[in-house]
C-alpha cells in the first residue's frame, strides 16, 4: 500500500498521507493534489499540477477545487463528492472538465483516493490531461463512423482467405451483400461458389486464379444469387498476398454491390437502343447543329431520304445547302431561338444528293444549354410528295369550284359525313328554286310524288352499297314555275377504305326539251323508215313491173297477150306508181310539220 489507512470507523477508510510516499507525490510527473472533501479547499499540490494548470503554489493552495472547474461543472463536482463521502469504496475515477488559470478548459482523467491529511478528511487526486487523447479518440470514432457509413453507402464488403484454409473471413457487409445469414452461412470455397450465378462460376476456376497469380490483382464483375433467389451484380477486386519467397499466402478481396449501376446501365443501353432505333432507323431526319448552322450530328436515316451519308454533312454548315430563297428565313428563325425554345419551321427546300430540291418541314429546339446536346436539335420530315399531292388537291378543288361556278349546270357537292350539301348555282337557274339550306333533303322536296319514293330509295340503296360508284336515275320534277321537268340525275359516290360513302358529286339535268326532241326525232325516223320501206316495196313493185313489161315489149315474144295488153299493164302500173309517190309526199309533209 502506498498510503496507509488510519484507525477509527470513518477515518479507517482514509489513507494517511505522509512519510516517504510524500516524495512520490511531489515528484510525480502527473498533476496531483489533495483537497478537503468537506471544504473543497486545496491542501497540497505537486509541481506537475502547478506546471500544468499554470498557478504558483500559494495561488493553487488558495483555491478550492471548485475553482479549477468550469462554473457549469461545479454542480457535477458537488454531486460526485457527496457520492464519494457516502460511498463504501475509497477510490473514484472519472473524466471531468477542468479549467486552467488561463481559462483553457481541458479534459482530465481523475483517479481519487480518500486519505487523512493533516487530520482532515481529504482526497488525493491524480489527474491526467486526456484532452488530446479524447480529441484523437473522437476523431478516430468519427473517421470510423464515416468509414462505416461509406461502406454502407458504397455497399462494400471485405473478405480474405488464406491459401491453406477453406473458409474465408467475411466482413459483416459481405453477408448483407450476398444475402446470407451470418449465423448459418459458412463461407467455404464451395459455399461461396454456389452463391455465384451458374453462368459466372467459371470466374472461380483455375484459369482465373492463374491471371490473379500473374498480375497480383484482378477486377471483375459477376452475378450472385442470394438465399432468396435474388440476382445481384457485384464488383470484385482481388489482391493476392505473397510471402517473402513470392509464394501466395492469402487472397484479399473487396466486393461492391453494383446491381443498381448495372440496372441503370441496362436502362441506359435500352434507352440508347431506342434512341438509335428512333433516330437512325426512323423515317424522320434527326440532327443537331450549332446556331451558326454547322452540323454537329445527323442520324443515318438521312441516307434513304436525301441520299447523303451522315459523314458528308457533319462539320458542314447546313444553311449553305438551303435554297437561296429560303436561307435567310431559316437562318433568322434558328438564330433567334432562345435556349429551351422550340419552333416549327415552315417548309423549305433542301437538296438531295443529286441536287434536286426537296421540301422539308422541321421542328427546331434550342438545347444549347443542355450539356449532352449543346446545340439545336432539328427534327425534320421530307414532305415533297405530300406537298405536291396537297398542291394537286388544292388545284383540283379550285378547278372544281370554278367548274361549279362556270358550268351553268346543276352540280352539287354532298358531304355525306356531315350531311350537308353545297348546291351549285345552276340548280337555281334551271329549276327556279332557291337552294340555300345545306340539308340534302331540300332537293327531294320537289320531286313529283309519283317518283319521289323510288328516286330517294334508289339513291339511298346506291349510297349504302360499297360496290356502287355511280347511279343514274330519272324522275319528274316540279319547277318553281309549276311546270314539270324530266330530270336526269347522276350521282357519283366517293368512298373510304371501308367502302363507306363519304362524299358524292351530283349532276342534275333538265332533260325535258331533249326528250321532246328525241321523241320528234324518233317519229321522223319512223316516218323515214316507213318511206324507205314504201320506196323499197311499194314504189319498186309497179316500177319493176313497168321495167319488165317494157323489156318484153322491146324484145317481143309475149305470146297470148297483145302489145296493147302490155301497154295497158304499163299504164296501170304507172298510175299505181303515181299514187304511191303522192302518198309518200303527203306522209313526208305531215311528218315535217314544225313543232308548235
Amino acid at each position: 500500500m502506498i498510503f496507509e489507512s488510519g484507525p477509527g470507523e470513518q477515518q479507517e477508510r482514509f489513507i494517511e498521507f505522509d512519510g516517504n510516499y510524500k516524495v512520490l507525490f511531489e515528484l510525480n510527473p502527473l498533476p496531483m493534489w489533495v483537497y478537503d472533501i468537506d471544504t473543497y479547499q486545496v491542501l497540497n499540490v505537486n509541481e506537475a499540477a502547478l506546471r500544468h494548470y499554470g498557478y504558483r503554489k500559494e495561488e493553487f493552495l488558495a483555491l478550492t477545487i471548485k475553482d479549477i472547474r468550469p462554473p457549469e461543472h461545479v454542480a457535477v463536482l458537488e454531486q460526485a463528492i457527496n457520492k464519494l463521502k457516502s460511498a463504501i469504496e475509497d477510490f473514484s475515477t472519472g473524466i471531468y472538465k477542468h479549467r486552467k488559470k488561463t481559462g483553457e478548459i481541458i479534459d482530465v482523467q481523475v483517479w481519487g483516493s480518500k486519505i487523512r491529511y493533516a487530520g482532515r478528511n481529504a482526497e488525493l487526486i491524480l489527474a491526467a490531461d486526456v484532452t488530446a487523447t479524447l480529441a484523437a479518440q473522437k476523431e478516430v470514432a468519427a473517421a470510423t463512423k464515416k468509414l462505416q457509413d461509406a461502406q454502407a453507402i458504397a455497399k462494400l464488403g471485405y473478405w480474405s482467405r488464406k491459401m491453406s484454409e477453406d473458409i474465408s473471413d467475411w466482413s459483416e457487409k459481405m453477408y448483407v451483400i450476398y444475402g446470407r445469414d451470418p449465423g448459418t452461412f459458412v463461407p467455404t470455397y464451395d459455399n461461396v461458389r454456389s452463391c455465384f450465378h451458374p453462368d459466372d462460376r467459371h470466374l472461380l476456376d483455375q484459369q482465373a486464379f492463374k491471371i490473379l497469380a500473374e498480375k497480383g490483382i484482378s477486377d471483375y464483375e459477376h452475378r450472385i444469387v442470394t438465399e432468396k433467389g435474388e440476382i445481384r451484380w457485384v464488383f470484385q477486386r482481388l489482391h493476392l498476398e505473397s510471402d517473402e519467397n513470392g509464394e501466395p499466402v492469402s487472397i484479399n478481396g473487396i466486393i461492391q454491390d453494383v446491381t443498381e449501376r448495372v440496372r441503370q446501365q441496362n436502362l441506359l443501353r435500352t434507352s440508347e437502343k431506342r434512341f438509335k432505333a428512333l433516330a437512325q432507323e426512323g423515317a424522320d431526319l434527326v440532327g443537331i447543329m450549332e446556331p451558326s448552322g454547322k452540323c454537329i450530328f445527323i442520324a443515318d436515316s438521312i441516307l434513304p431520304v436525301l441520299g447523303f451519308h451522315a459523314d458528308e454533312l457533319i462539320g458542314h454548315n447546313l444553311l449553305d445547302y438551303l435554297h437561296p430563297e429560303d436561307k435567310a428565313r431559316i437562318a433568322s428563325t434558328v438564330q433567334s431561338l432562345a435556349p429551351g425554345e422550340k419552333v416549327r419551321i415552315d417548309p423549305y427546300r433542301f437538296p438531295d444528293v443529286k441536287g434536286r430540291w426537296r421540301w422539308i418541314s422541321t421542328v427546331a429546339t434550342n438545347l444549347t444549354h443542355e450539356e449532352a446536346v449543346v446545340g439545336i436539335v432539328i427534327n425534320s420530315t421530307e414532305i415533297t410528295d405530300l406537298l405536291n399531292q396537297s398542291n394537286a388537291l388544292k388545284t383540283s378543288n379550285d378547278r372544281y369550284k370554278l367548274l361549279m361556278k362556270a358550268a351553268n349546270q346543276a352540280i352539287y357537292d354532298w358531304d355525306i359525313v356531315q350531311e350537308s350539301v353545297e348546291w351549285g348555282e345552276g340548280l337555281s337557274d334551271i329549276f327556279g328554286h332557291k337552294f340555300s339550306s345545306p340539308d340534302p333533303s331540300s332537293w327531294s322536296n320537289y320531286i313529283c310524288a309519283h317518283d319521289k319514293e323510288r328516286a330517294v330509295q334508289q339513291v339511298s340503296m346506291a349510297r349504302n352499297d360499297p360496290g356502287t360508284e355511280m347511279i343514274d336515275l330519272e324522275y319528274d320534277y316540279i319547277k318553281a314555275d309549276g311546270s314539270i321537268a324530266i330530270v336526269e340525275h347522276r350521282v357519283i359516290f366517293l368512298r373510304n377504305e371501308e367502302g363507306t360513302a363519304v362524299r358524292a358529286i351530283g349532276h342534275v339535268k333538265d332533260a325535258t326539251a331533249y326528250r321532246k326532241n328525241l321523241q320528234r326525232i324518233n317519229k321522223q325516223n319512223e316516218t323515214l323508215t316507213k318511206i324507205a320501206w314504201t320506196q323499197s316495196h311499194v314504189v319498186r313493185a309497179p316500177l319493176a313491173r313497168i321495167m319488165g313489161l317494157v323489156s318484153l315489149l322491146k324484145e317481143g315474144g309475149y305470146e297470148e297477150l297483145t302489145q296493147q295488153d302490155l301497154l295497158d299493164y304499163v299504164h296501170q302500173s304507172a298510175c299505181e306508181l303515181d299514187k304511191v309517190i303522192r302518198e309518200i309526199v303527203h306522209t313526208a309533209e305531215t311528218t315535217h310539220e314544225p313543232e308548235s
Binding site: 323499197s536 319498186r540 313493185a541 313491173r545 319488165g548 313489161l549 315474144g557
Partner: protein, 131 residues
C-alpha cells in the same frame, strides 16, 4: 331440161307471174312451171305432189295470205323440204331485206325484180345441176 324438178313461181302479182313465166319460157323452161298466188297455195300444191318431188321456187316476199317468210317456216320439216331450192325474188331495192333468209338452208339466192335473161340463164344452170 329435167322434167322431174317442178319450177314454182310464187307471187301475188299476176303481171309479174306472166312476165316471169314468159322469160323462163324464152330461156327454155317450158314444162313443169307452176304459178301460185301466195305461200299457202304453194304449200298446198307441194303437199299434193309426191313426197319425193324436187322443187325450184322463185319466191316473192310480200304477199297476202302467207308471205314468203311464213312459207319458208311452213316448209321446214316437210318431206320435200330437203329437195327444195328457193330463189327469193323481191321488188325491194336493197338486198338487206332478205338477210334473214340465210337461216333457211333451202334459200340459194336472191334476185331483184324484174327478172332478166341473165337471171334466167342462172336458173337454167341451177336446174341442170339439180337434176
Amino acid at each position: 331440161m329435167n322434167q322431174k324438178v317442178k319450177v314454182l313461181l310464187i307471187d301475188d302479182d299476176p303481171v309479174v307471174l306472166f312476165l316471169h313465166k314468159t322469160l323462163l319460157k324464152k330461156a327454155g323452161i317450158i314444162t313443169n312451171v307452176h304459178t301460185l298466188n301466195n305461200g299457202r297455195d304453194a304449200i298446198e300444191f307441194m303437199d299434193s305432189c309426191e313426197p319425193e318431188t324436187a322443187y325450184y321456187a322463185l319466191l316473192d316476199i310480200n304477199m297476202p295470205v302467207m308471205n314468203g317468210w311464213e312459207f319458208l317456216e311452213a316448209l321446214q320439216g316437210r318431206p320435200y323440204s330437203e329437195q327444195t331450192s328457193i330463189l327469193l325474188v323481191s321488188s325491194a331495192a336493197e338486198g338487206r331485206v332478205v338477210m334473214p333468209a340465210v337461216a333457211y338452208r333451202q334459200v340459194i339466192g336472191y334476185l331483184s325484180k324484174p327478172l332478166t335473161m341473165e337471171n334466167c340463164d342462172r336458173i337454167v344452170t341451177d336446174l341442170a345441176e339439180k337434176a
